[in-house]
Structures are given as structure tokens and as C-alpha cells.
């Protein structure tokens, strides 16, 4: 029996200026317990598609249907470039911002919130940097803080935008293990241009370059990637970086 769909995207097109389409006629679904990786070249519209799914951008045509999930069921790990890394905020306060939708100016902070933050500090082994400013921690630590913030309210779907860009290979390994574990409880949608991020645990891969070229995992073959990237890419052992076999034309 196919798994229940959480998000269904039908014939979605998007444009910032109504002239040039960034995304064209996309059909895609995110299922319960899915582990979907969206790949594609820079400027191919991956992040735009993610933002449409999150409801941050409105498509010019087509539809996105949500089945039993709303925006506060989404955990979001943005790209490092979307926020100000030099903001004077400690790791602990940063994680707390994940609870901001619960905030009310005339209600006191509940004890439950405190224990949620404590739990995240332990779960992601960042207790020792809880009082460090986010500008002085490493890429891997910042990544864990971002995950801790995204997961503080037990989302149903976790979205990650290029999570491996600014972290070292050890942190990448950790991230992969964390995501595998999380996938037992929630669906994961990850954007990446890093082939090594596609490991054994990934269930579906979509290739986006303005349109969706591929959706599914078992048929993952070189030809669809070739269409997207414009060059042949060899898929080698899981977890290893990809190699380009032939010269780019």
C-alpha cells in the first residue's frame, strides 16, 4: 500500500517577475516517512521549490495541497546565508527562537519551554557551547544548533536547505546518522547539490532544473542527472563524493 501523502504539488509554476519562470509545471509529493532529496544545479530552483512547499512563496500557477500538516508542523534548517551569523545571540537563545510561535506578550514563559531547550542542548551535544555566541562556533556546531531549533517542537516534516555546504566531513557523517534516526519519526525533505548526501537511507530523489526531471529512487540513473547538470555524472559507492567522468562540454 502506498504511504499517505503529506504534501502534493500539482502543476506548480513559479516566477519572481512574471516574465521568467524559475519553476515550471512541477509535480511532486512528499509522503509520510519520506526521505526526499531534491537535487539540481545552482539557480535551478531547488530553494524556490522548498520555499513554495513551506508557504513562504506563492506559486503563480498550480497547487500545493497539505494533508493533515500545517506550517507549524514544519521544521526548517535554512542555508547559512539566509540569516545574519554575526547577530549577538547565544546558542541557547537561538534554539529558543524555535518556540517563537508559542510566544504571547502577556503570558509568562512556561517551564515546559525551558525543559524543551535543555533537552535539545543534550540531544545535539551543544550544552558546552550553550552560552557561546553563534558567531564564534564552528560550521558543524551551527548546523546542530539549527537542527536543534528546527526540531524543538517535534515537526512532522523536516526541511533542510543545503545542510552540508559549510560543514566538515566528520560533521557530514554525523548529520547523515542524525537524519537516519529522525526519519523513523518524521518525513525529511533535503535540498543539496552534494551527491555524497545521497546515502542508503534516502528514499526518493528528485532532480530539479526549472522542471522536475526525475522522481523516485530505484530508477536513479545517470541519464536524468545528465539532463539536469548538462554533464554525465557517475554514481559511485554511497557516501563517497561523486566523480565527473567526462569533460564538461
Amino acid at each position: 500500500m502506498p504511504l499517505k501523502e503529506l504534501i502534493t504539488i500539482k502543476n506548480l509554476s513559479f516566477s519572481y517577475d512574471n516574465k521568467q519562470e524559475i519553476l515550471s509545471d512541477i509535480n511532486l509529493s512528499v509522503r509520510d516517512n519520506d526521505y526526499l532529496v531534491i537535487m539540481g544545479p545552482n539557480g535551478g530552483g531547488k530553494t524556490t521549490l522548498l520555499k513554495c512547499m513551506l508557504g513562504l512563496l506563492k506559486p503563480i500557477s498550480g497547487k500545493i495541497n497539505y494533508h493533515g500538516v500545517k506550517s507549524n508542523d514544519f521544521g526548517y534548517v535554512p542555508q547559512f546565508t539566509t540569516f545574519d551569523k554575526y547577530m549577538p545571540i547565544t546558542v541557547e537563545d537561538f534554539i529558543e527562537t524555535g518556540l517563537i510561535d508559542q510566544y504571547h506578550p502577556f503570558k509568562k514563559r512556561r517551564i515546559k519551554d525551558r525543559s524543551l531547550i535543555e533537552k535539545q542542548l543534550d540531544d545535539f551535544s551543544i550544552r558546552d557551547i550553550a552560552f557561546s555566541s553563534i558567531s564564534e562556533i564552528s560550521g558543524g556546531q551551527l548546523q546542530r544548533a539549527l537542527l536543534a531549533r528546527a526540531l524543538i517542537q517535534d515537526p512532522k516534516i523536516l526541511f533542510l536547505d543545503e545542510p552540508t555546504t559549510f560543514i566538515d566531513s566528520e560533521s557530514r557523517g554525523n548529520l547523515s546518522a542524525i537524519l537516519k534516526q529522525l526519519n523513523e519519526k518524521m518525513a525529511i525533505v533535503m535540498i543539496t547539490h552534494d551527491m555524497s548526501a545521497i546515502d542508503d537511507h534516502v528514499k526518493n530523489v528528485a532532480c530539479v532544473n526549472k522542471t522536475l526531471y526525475y522522481h523516485g529512487r530505484d530508477e536513479l540513473i545517470g541519464s536524468s542527472l545528465e539532463k539536469v547538470y548538462g554533464c554525465p555524472i557517475e554514481l559511485i559507492a554511497h557516501g563517497l563524493p561523486h566523480r565527473v567522468l567526462k569533460d564538461h562540454k
Partner: protein, 269 residues
């Protein structure tokens, strides 16, 4: 005779203390949001309104207020992404406002006011009414900050995440620039258009390398504003030099001293 016995000195000091609170809070938020240039634009554009109202025979500060609110609203309501790529537009607004102001003041018949008063301010001319205005504004500002501090942080830090969490980003932006515009106008009377920018940015720039959390930065910026203001005020009084510029010069010197100490600290660690 003790200088504190003069009413204008008392008013000036009181205003200085109250404006330190305004400058410390708003300045910290502006510096963190990297909006200093934009604020300079609003302050200088308001000079156009000031000149126009002067020409009409109305209260010039009301003219500055109108234009500051109008430009703050335009900035607050426009698309932030576009805005940051339009620094040239802010620069034009800056220069155009100044040019208009000077032309209007020049063509106004009769006695020409001392332009320096508006450009560099004169805190010794402040009245009790000015002080009440600043006091009321500070109460509103503090109340807003206490109630909405947490969502404000998220807005300043990561607007996309804020939007996802249901924070009304556009409303926050608009209210933020409204508060900035009012602060600017309140400060014009005492330190003038040119020096507003310095008084808003110097204290947070001193606090930023010293503290990790925004609340500490805000509190220390208020304190540094106060130190700069009081020392500048007395130096100006005893040397018989204009208050506004002396306040800014003493602030800049303090900024360089603190930054130099931080530089030595970071080099040795």
C-alpha cells in the same frame, strides 16, 4: 555659581539622560540590523521637510517629523530585498533632502536662522515640553521592547524563519522604521541631523565586541551613551565649544579606545 542651578542646564542634562535611553535601544537595533546608512538617509531627508515648514512659517521640527515618518513608512512598506540593493536611492534621498532644506531656508524672507542649529543641534535650547515628549516616547518604546522583544529578535535575525513561525514580518518592519523615524526627530533638536547618526551608532559599536547577548548590548549602549553625553556636555560647557560636536568627538574617542583594547585582547588570546 554651580552650573547645575541653571534651568537650561538641568533641562539639557535631563534630556541627555532620556535620549541616551532612546539612542541606546534604537541604535543597538539599527546597528545589528545593519541599517545605519538607511537611518542617515531618513535623518538627512527630513531636513527638506524642516526647511519647507520653515518657509511656510510653521514649526520646522514638525516638518522634519512629517518627512521622517513619510520616509520611514516608505522604507518600512517597501520590499526589503529591493531596498538593500538600492543604496544609491537612499544616497539621493539624503542629498536631495539636504538641498531642498537649504533652498527653502534661503528663499524664506526675513531673518535667516542659524543653519548650524539644525545640523548640529543645540541641547541648551531644549524646553520642559521637549523633555516630556522624549519621556513619553521612551515609555512607549520600553513597553514595546519588553512585550515584543522575543519576536523582534527573530525578525531582526532571520526574517524567513520569522515568517514561517507566523510572525507578521511586514508589520514588524513597518513599526520598526516608525520607531526609528520618531527617535531621529526627537534627537534632531539636541544633537542635530548630522550627528544623529553618530549618536545612534557609536554606543552600540562600543558595546558589540564586549558583549554576546542583545540585552547586554542594549543596556551597555544606554550606559555608554550616557557617559559620552555627560562627559561631552561638561567638556563643551567649560571649553565654551558647541555641545553636539563635542559629544560626538568624545564618543568617537571612546569608541577607538575600546576597539583598540579589544584588538589587543584578541591578539593576545
Amino acid at each position: 555659581m554651580n552650573i547645575l542651578q541653571y534651568e537650561f542646564v538641568q533641562n539639557a542634562l535631563l534630556a541627555g539622560i532620556l535620549l541616551s535611553i532612546t539612542a541606546g535601544i534604537i541604535g543597538s537595533l539599527i546597528v545589528i540590523k545593519r541599517d545605519t546608512f538607511l537611518v542617515g538617509g531618513i535623518a538627512h531627508a527630513s531636513f527638506g521637510g524642516l526647511g519647507f515648514f520653515y518657509f511656510l512659517g510653521l514649526n520646522p521640527i514638525l516638518g522634519a517629523f512629517t518627512v521622517a515618518i513619510a520616509s520611514g513608512s516608505i522604507i518600512g512598506l517597501s520590499n526589503e530585498k529591493q531596498l538593500h540593493s538600492h543604496n544609491a536611492l537612499i544616497g539621493i534621498l539624503w542629498a536631495f533632502g539636504m538641498a531642498l532644506g537649504i533652498v527653502f531656508i534661503t528663499i524664506t524672507p526675513g531673518y535667516a536662522p542659524n543653519l548650524l542649529t539644525y545640523l548640529f543641534g543645540d541641547i541648551l535650547t531644549l524646553t520642559k515640553a521637549d523633555i516630556y515628549n522624549i519621556l513619553i516616547y521612551n515609555i512607549v518604546l520600553l513597553l514595546a521592547l519588553f512585550l515584543f522583544y522575543k519576536p523582534l529578535i527573530v525578525y531582526l535575525f532571520d526574517q524567513e524563519f520569522a515568517a514561517l513561525q507566523g510572525i507578521k514580518v511586514k508589520l514588524y518592519r513597518y513599526v520598526f522604521y516608525l520607531f526609528i523615524s520618531i527617535s531621529i526627530v526627537l534627537m534632531i533638536r539636541s544633537v542635530g541631523i548630522i550627528l544623529v547618526l553618530a549618536l545612534l551608532s557609536i554606543p552600540p559599536l562600543i558595546s558589540l565586541p564586549l558583549f554576546k547577548r542583545l540585552p547586554s548590548i542594549i543596556i551597555m549602549s544606554v550606559l555608554f551613551s550616557l557617559i559620552i553625553f555627560v562627559s561631552g556636555f561638561f567638556i563643551a560647557y567649560y571649553t565654551n565649544l558647541p555641545t553636539g560636536p563635542i559629544i560626538i568627538i568624545s564618543g568617537t574617542i571612546l569608541l577607538f579606545i575600546v576597539r583598540f583594547i579589544c584588538f589587543l585582547r584578541d591578539r593576545n588570546s
